[in-house]
Amino acid sequence: MSTSPYAGRIAFDDSLFGEDYPHAAHTARAYIAENLEHLADEAGQVRVAWRSPAPTTAFLTHETITRIDTPYLIWESDPFPVTLDEDGVPYPLRIDAAGFASQANAVTFRVVAAPAGRSLTYARSPTFPQVVDCTTSSTTDGWLTHADNLVQMSSSDAVEGLEEIPTIDAIGGDPVTVAATLATISVWALTSNLSTALRLTGVYAAEYVGT
């Protein structure tokens, strides 16, 4: 939800900021503070986006499943730096996933957002807000059904994923470090029938400022 009252950027005339103009409170509020808030609301990035061009032959799947109550990893993204809100909570991620079952049995593609290295913990906890289950029993490829479109990491996730990453302060400059919270999107398989495999053919995750 927007923190800017107009839920949008207000265009303005650059001459309002001329040196001969007094800096009016209205200018500071509407053109600076509120526009900045809107731009920050829309600062979320697309963090995962792919769709197989040949879903029936080019897909990702899991190791052999031996237990129907255990999630098996299908795919995990590279870590990406999450956008942290004012309270230290990461922006929620709007997600979607595509795939199909190898046989007509109920299967679940469990999408998990978690600090790098922590996805298994949440994969085993379907009620956590870091998890959205996408379900199907279809053997035809397609985007999957899910009750919720958002996954939400917590402030403790943000702390857990925080890294001081070596970088530089300018082109050809000195070494410095920068702090960033790194997280991944992973997809896990759950099947109602041990002989039914899951075929993952697409994943999408984009940060959104949320409510």
């Binding site: 939800m1 927007s2 839920a7 949008g8 950027r9 265009a11 650059d14 900021f17 001329g18 103009y21 800096h23 409170a25 209205h26 500071a28 509020r29 053109y31 600076i32 503070a33 526009n35 900045l36 808030e37 731009l39 829309e42 600062a43 990035q45 697309v46 995962v48 986006a49 792919w50 061009p53 040949a54 897909f59 990702l60 899991h62 190791e63 990893l73 795919w75 993204s77 590279d78 870590p79 990406f80 730096p81 956008t83 942290l84 809100d85 004012e86 709007r94 979607d96 595509a98 790098a116 985007w143 958002l150 970088t167 530089i168 302060d169 920068v178 991944t184 697409g202 999408y204 959104y208």
Partner: protein
């Protein structure tokens, strides 16, 4: 000089600014911090994707992407996830042609890890450009590239003013006036939505059009017929940022790495909500980036819990059509906010 970039989002506190009352230096300071945060946190250049390229040869695989980066970026962080039939190594170059780095490849799904390589740029630029990487297996073991990604390294501090547009924080002093010039950088950033916070990549898909230095048809998506549009991949969600308060759409730009065996072909985008774009025609017989394909798609609706308009994903499908005989091939589709 300290145009520092916060880790968490600061707030500009517009409610603290009252008409007919002077703007407090601390309020101006918060705006400046938010401006620096927006400019300095970096963009996702290649959202993690699964190329699903499987090879059994040691030939070098060349991946190409089209991006319009942010000026503030100094380094790019690349990530690679690879899986092999038996333990092996690959060499990776970022960009293609740079000194190769050797990376181990595991075999089990649970032990596939992300191999991270940092690319330091020679200069800053926000000009649209191609970025590349190359992967060369060191054995003929079956190898699948399961993930490639790239993001701009966040900045800890920005240069004050100039093209970095950092705002000096130390000049907001209690009791002192806020001079108009203190707002120069923020004003420049907020007056152009493409300068600040741009989604550099809405999606990136690339497979090798060049293998071992020569054009290859092994991995590109090819037309199977002529005269009708064919799907390159189907229905990836897309939402741009919302700009003006009344906006319901945003413009995306797409370029495809494509070529034909002869004659011509058409390339376009198809939105599930807004229909098809104007097509771009190609006649090149070796891989080259197409002209820009533009299309208005849904932007986020900030009044809804998930940003979707009408609880429906706008889904974007890149398409190609070979005119008359022959084959059209597409090896990369890059889509970014215009």
């Amino acid at each position: 000089m300290s145009a520092t970039v916060a880790v968490r989002r600061p707030t500009a506190r517009p409610d603290d600014i009252l008409v007919a009352a002077p703007v407090r230096a601390l309020t101006g300071l918060e705006s400046a911090k938010l401006g620096n945060w927006l400019l300095g946190r970096g963009a996702q250049l290649i959202p993690p994707y699964a190329p699903l390229t499987t090879v059994t040869a040691t030939s070098e695989l060349h991946y190409q992407f089209r991006v319009r980066p942010r000026y503030q970026a100094l380094q790019r962080v690349w990530g690679f996830r690879l899986r092999a039939a038996s333990p092996m190594e690959v060499t990776i170059e970022v960009p293609s042609g740079a000194t190769a780095i050797t990376a181990p490849v595991s075999t089990r799904r649970d032990t596939v890890h992300s191999f991270r390589i940092v690319e330091t740029l020679g200069s800053q630029s926000d000009t649209e450009a191609e970025i590349t990487c190359a992967i060369a297996p060191t054995s003929t073991t079956s190898l699948t590239i399961e993930g490639i990604s790239c993001y701009e390294m966040p900045r800890g501090t920005l240069a004050v003013g100039g093209s970095d547009l950092g705002t000096e924080l130390a000049v907001y002093v209690v009791g002192q006036p806020i001079k108009a010039t203190l707002y120069d950088s923020i004003r420049a950033a907020t007056s152009d939505p493409l300068v600040i916070g741009r989604r550099v990549s809405l999606s990136q898909w690339s497979v090798p059009a060049t293998v071992a230095g020569a054009t290859s048809t092994a991995h590109a998506k090819a037309t199977v017929g002529t005269g009708s549009y064919e799907t390159i991949y189907s229905g990836l969600p897309v939402l741009t940022r919302k700009d003006a308060p009344s906006a319901t759409t945003g413009l995306v730009t797409c370029k495809m790495l494509a070529w034909v065996s002869g004659g011509s072909a058409d390339l376009r985008l198809n939105s599930s909500v807004h229909g098809a774009s104007t097509a771009v025609n190609i006649t090149n017989t070796s891989p080259a980036w197409s002209g820009a394909i533009t299309l208005s798609v849904d932007c986020e609706d900030l009044s809804t819990a998930d940003g979707l308009q009408g609880a429906v994903f706008d889904r974007l499908t890149p398409e190609m059509r070979k005119n008359v005989s022959g084959t059209c091939r597409v090896a990369a589709v890059s889509i970014w906010e215009a």
